[in-house]
């Protein structure tokens, strides 16, 4: 074995896709300002067509290790709607519980490891671990809790295996739920310290009137199912999702852009907060107050603050769901049996970075005939560009380095889905 061999273990996954910010200003006038990110795996439809509906959630959960539960949930809801499958109360509680686990997991990663380094003026979480090890260790503790919660319900780490059409193939025990509940209670201390840390961060001041789009439900802060609701007053049944997304091709990007009533809209934690903040758990509302977050907030940088608020909400809701499941006891439930009749259905949920749609047509043989998927990052692209066009003229006199940094931070605030889109931000001034 050679003493030194140059090996890039994840070289392969790190170079796919590209994210370019292009800014072109001449004599102080902005001539070009755009973002290119590769969108949803373009073979989404092809990889599902002809496959049994029972495979769909397992396949799509592999699109991303961060949104694995989110893709699985949207996929299952699409199939369940298409096939007319009703979920039991227990299955709903478990679906919500694992979803909160993923929201917590992803938001911890994004806020601590992607956003926080900007405020500490370091390039990544690795040097951050050198100067603020307590914060990074706290993030890893919270991430472990979230990962273990997902594994308890989903049957294994990272990519859930127990979630299936109609319910779950594996169930947590009451003892596991009790142990998890105790850990969630313990995590409140870490959560309090998280809010305390993030409220000290000097968020960039930038606002722009924006339409925010999120699912909403009458009785809860919506993550799974609901009505598509916008801050401009739009309300749509999930079946009409295309009336909101209006995907269109744009010349400069391989990705499609989406727009509702305005030139663009935003999805994600800030959009959910702006649409549904009154339904947050009281502790999460306190956190929002502490962070200075008030609906309707039009500063996109505060999407990360909204994520911190949702972390509080997810921890508290998870405690409540554990309590409910412990009180009910866990019952084994019959698996859904396909009745030989297909159909069409839309599954929608609020994954960590925003509204996700899966839309399937299932044939009478149980195989998928057509599939469509619209990811949050795809919906946010046009809005990020609109923000950039508004922001750049305001800060152009600050010089190339500061403009670059502000734009990188802006893109990061949207928490773009790296797996399906981008790894590196290359800022070019042409």
């Amino acid at each position: 074995m050679a003493q030194n061999m140059k090996i890039d273990v994840h070289h392969v996954t790190r170079v796919e896709g590209h994210g370019n910010i292009t800014v072109n200003a001449k004599n102080g006038v902005l001539e070009e300002c755009r973002l290119d990110i590769v969108e949803t795996p373009r073979f989404f439809e092809a990889m599902l067509r002809g496959r049994p509906y029972t495979d769909a959630s397992h396949i799509t959960s592999r699109i991303c290790g961060i949104c694995a539960v989110g893709h699985a949930t949207a996929s299952l809801r699409a199939s369940e709607t298409a096939l007319g499958v009703e979920l039991s109360e227990q299955a709903w509680l478990l679906r919500k519980l694992i979803f909160h686990g993923e929201i917590l997991d992803s938001h911890v990663l994004h806020t601590y490891m992607l956003v926080a380094p900007d405020f500490f003026k370091v390039g990544s979480v690795i040097p951050l671990a050198g100067i603020a090890p307590d914060a990074v260790l706290r993030a890893l503790r919270m991430k472990k809790l979230a990962g273990d919660l997902c594994a308890m319900v989903g049957g294994r780490h990272t990519h859930p295996i127990a979630m299936s059409v109609g319910g779950f193939t594996h169930l947590p025990t009451v003892d596991e739920l009790k142990a998890m509940r105790a850990r969630l209670i313990d995590a409140r201390k870490d959560m309090d310290e998280t809010v305390a840390l993030f409220k000290t961060l000097p968020w960039p001041q930038f606002t722009r009137e924006t339409e925010y789009v999120a699912l909403s439900k009458p009785d809860e802060y919506a993550f799974i199912d609901g009505t598509i609701t916008t801050t401009d007053g739009g309300r749509y049944h999930l079946n009409d999702y295309r009336k909101v997304t209006n995907e269109k091709c744009v010349e400069h990007s391989s990705s499609k852009h989406t727009a509702h009533k305005r030139e663009s809209y935003m999805v994600g934690a800030l959009a959910r907060f702006n649409v549904n903040s009154k339904q947050l758990h009281p502790k999460a509302q306190e956190a929002a107050d502490a962070l200075g977050l008030k609906a309707v907030c039009t500063n996109p940088y505060l999407n990360s603050a909204a994520q911190v608020v949702e972390m509080v909400h997810s921890i508290e809701e998870s405690v409540k769901i554990c309590d409910e499941l412990i009180a009910r006891g866990i019952k084994k439930e019959d698996a859904y049996k396909f009745a030989g009749k297909g159909g069409t259905g839309v599954g929608a949920c609020e994954v960590p970075r925003g509204l996700l749609f899966h839309n399937y047509e299932i044939g009478d043989d149980g195989k998928i005939v057509n599939a469509n998927c619209i990811i949050p990052t795809g919906q946010n692209l046009a809005n990020i560009e609109a923000d950039m066009r508004a922001l750049v003229p305001q800060i152009l006199d600050q010089g190339q380095e500061k403009v670059t940094f502000a734009l990188e931070m802006l893109v990061r605030a949207y928490d773009p889905c790296i797996s399906c889109s981008v790894h590196f931000l290359d800022v070019k001034f042409v």
Partner: protein, 205 residues
């Protein structure tokens, strides 16, 4: 928790990037179907490796019996499976640290760009190579093994002994199957892992 973890990493929807997952799935299958096992073990293995999931990337099923019957059977019989867990870990990012913590030894199978022939694979430890991370461009969502290990080092988190089997990919385009070259490597990688496990168990008694 079992002290030894055999962990396949990667994305099976990105062609050869999924080779680690494929190796883990196939290894689970051959372990579950070995003749020496008890009924209880067989049930446990079946639970952990539902066929449906492992069929995701099944372009050419790996037939252990046809390819390498005698040595594989011997190797399987020798390995103390009560100490070994096999996991298809997908793309855990920094979550890798949660999966490997408190283990004694972790064998990681992953696609690795090594500028060698597609399907060729190498065994190495983190100390033997310069893992090209991206400390300045840490991108969490698909951050690789190198980033997770660098973070652990920075935080002085105690790690288990780690052994890599890196497999050179031919293509990592979005595609839910392995290339023929990498598919062909799967049984050889499994044999190498079994050898690794047995040699160590033998030397440790």
């Amino acid at each position: 928790m079992k002290p030894i973890l055999v962990l396949g990493l990667g994305n099976p929807l990105q062609g050869d990037d999924g080779v680690g997952c494929r190796v883990a799935q196939e290894l689970e299958r051959v372990i579950a179907s070995r003749p020496e096992q008890s009924v209880a073990e067989s049930k446990e293995a079946a639970k952990q490796s539902p066929t449906r999931e492992s069929e995701i990337a099944s372009s050419q099923p790996f037939d252990s019996a046809a390819q390498n019957a005698a040595p594989l059977r011997v190797l399987l019989a020798m390995t103390r499976w009560q100490d070994v867990e096999v996991m298809d870990g997908g793309t855990p990012g920094v979550g890798l640290l949660n999966v490997i913590e408190r283990r004694a030894r972790v064998i990681i199978i992953d696609a690795a760009e090594m500028s060698i022939a597609p399907g060729a694979f190498r065994r190495f430890t983190p100390e033997q190579v310069a893992l090209t991370g991206s400390a300045q461009r840490f991108s969490l969502h698909r951050s690789g093994v190198a980033d997770a290990l660098a973070l652990a080092r920075e935080l002085k988190i105690e790690l288990p002994e780690i052994i890599f089997f890196g497999v050179q990919p031919a293509s990592v385009e979005w595609r839910d199957a392995l290339s023929p070259a990498v598919q062909g490597a799967v049984p050889r990688v499994i044999e190498a892992i079994l050898n690794e496990l047995n040699q160590r168990m033998k030397s440790e008694g």
